[in-house]
Subunit: 346 residues, 2 copies
């Protein structure tokens, strides 16, 4: 209060904005802090001026609440707990708590959400699998609240700091493993074709076939929905063909469970009659029968990395950040075996 404004450029900006908006400094401060008792029209006028003048509260970690916001669009995902664990690990290291929200919308959290975030003033926001609207991004930027996307789906978001994993390499590793075991007719049950992670994994699958001189057969690549039941139906389609594949790359561990179920129904033994590779390496992969060979997607580490990046952005607001993909790796268990050469040569 007794300070001269020259010492505090931030305060100058806020004072100027209060003059431009024709409101008191305390009203500007209420808007900044997400207090509810400001008329909507005043609030949007102040928000617009803050954005226009490129105002950004200094990214002082000490000034934020000891909270990390974690936003899922769908908690139903089997991944959710892996991701929560990663964020929790970082939160605990820093003596912070996690605020967990399920947005229910695949694309961005709903409108109320942002008011809560601003009022809580967390150290950072971690979004799983979704993005923010331009308006939400602007509001967080104004408050100096960084956000990072955990994006296993690999959808491109060039202007957003995000952590993904190497989907193409994962598809390559899964397929190369099967080729190394002598398989040449390898089916693939992909995730939804319109997701980048599906494209990347199919790309890796094709690259492995090409490198081995095996002709790509589009009839062997079916679109799944990442759920077991859809994969079971796709697997029946593949396995009831006269020239059925000797191996299936299932695109997710849950889809692999659908393939197991289809194989059981048809009396095919895994891996004697059919090799199966999953994707994700969920905890269940170790305990199904037989234990599943799969591509490990380091979900907990991805979430951890995202949380660390958000905290780093809080400390270093100017930091230039690019998307980062963590490595995937093949985990070989008992669902894959050398193909019977007679069958492979049919």
């Amino acid at each position: 209060m007794g300070k001269t404004t020259a010492e505090d450029p931030e305060r100058v900006t806020l004072a100027a904005i209060s003059v431009l908006a024709g409101v008191s400094l305390s009203t500007v401060s209420k808007v900044l802090n997400g207090r509810g008792d400001v008329a909507a029209s005043t609030r949007s006028r102040v928000e617009a001026l803050l954005a226009e003048h490129g105002y950004s509260r200094r990214g002082d970690a000490a000034a934020s609440a000891p909270l990390l916001e974690l936003v899922f669009h769908e908690l139903e995902s089997v991944w959710a707990i892996e991701i929560i664990r990663g964020v929790e690990r970082v939160a605990r290291e820093h003596g912070m708590s996690i605020i967990l929200t399920e947005s229910g919308d695949r694309h961005s959290p709903d409108l109320d959400w942002i008011d809560g975030v601003i009022a809580r003033n967390p150290a950072g926001v971690i979004l799983v699998f979704s993005d923010l609207s331009a308006g939400h991004k602007q509001q967080l930027a104004t408050r100096g609240i960084p956000f990072v996307v955990v994006d296993p789906a690999g959808d491109p978001a060039p202007d957003v700091p995000s952590i993904g994993s190497a989907n193409w390499s994962g598809g390559l590793a899964a397929t190369r493993h099967l080729i190394d075991l002598g398989h040449t007719r390898i089916g693939m049950i992909s995730g939804p074709f319109d997701m980048m992670c599906s494209s990347a994994r199919i790309g890796g699958y094709r690259a492995a076939l090409d490198a081995a001189g095996i002709t790509f057969d589009p009839a062997l690549v079916l679109e799944g929905d990442f759920h077991p039941e859809g994969a079971r139906l796709r697997a029946l389609e593949l396995l009831e063909r006269a020239d059925r594949p000797t191996a299936i790359f299932a695109g997710s561990d849950l889809q692999a469970m659908g393939v197991y179920e289809a194989a059981r129904a048809l009396g095919l033994a895994i891996p004697a009659d059919l090799s199966v590779v999953g994707y994700d390496d969920l905890p269940l992969a170790r305990w199904v029968g037989p234990p599943l060979t799969t591509v490990r997607q380091p979900l907990t580490e991805m979430a951890e990395e995202a949380a660390r990046l958000a905290l780093r952005l809080r400390r270093e607001p100017g930091l230039e950040v690019q998307r980062m993909d963590l490595a995937t790796s093949l985990v070989s268990r008992q669902s894959t075996a050398r193909v019977d050469q007679a069958v492979a040569g049919r």
Copy 2:
């Protein structure tokens, strides 16, 4: 400010406490609101006086933050996500967010935790599988913050509102199902013997045997640790006996996975050579091979019920609450079958 104290009994109490403690009213208020800038000795003096005078902030839901605190001692649990979903459902209905903490201690959250809770002033606290220290209980009571325990382990906490499930009935249903299929030598791999849920399930198992006139054989009941690997070893012990059981009640779905693995290793087919019943009905139970017959523990509903109860206690602070157990039910899938009479009669 302009009010006379006679209109506000709560304010009178706080004023009296400030006099007794020899501090200002604003210091008392800082302690109540979990603000950090009060000396530890002052804080504990004020806390003691608040407790002694039975002070309780009025349980006005409007005065709390739109938050539910959810505390796990271990996020590693496969149940965690089921419970989070239940609390999230209630949070969303009420436009609230969830604060998630992993306490890392099976018995109660650590000391820092309570300061964060008081500062955040949530509508309620839901604890999974753990309890609070007497001091923490007192501090929450003083602030009018209710808490409810989700307690699938069934450990008795008579003075604490808690939601559990019917473990004895679950053990009874699992065993009766196997008896109905003609099994008489039924192994059990229990959870840790010192947990109430284990006692209750073993009690249900014994009651089903007694009702069917089958002699209880303690050698058939082994202690597991709720993890697959421990159960695999116990199952090998049971199945390598000359008079091996024809069925195993596994005490948890993860333990059932260990039994599956042991059966595979010994070349025993499920259910032809061995029937298996799990406990929990985790999502994976549907997708293992063969799909697992299990006792459904309604974890999501239990968490939902706990969250609703916490909110109700916020609105009705005087409410007398007892422990409530939700029903368990047998889900029959393909891991159990009628026993081969020749084998049963060995």
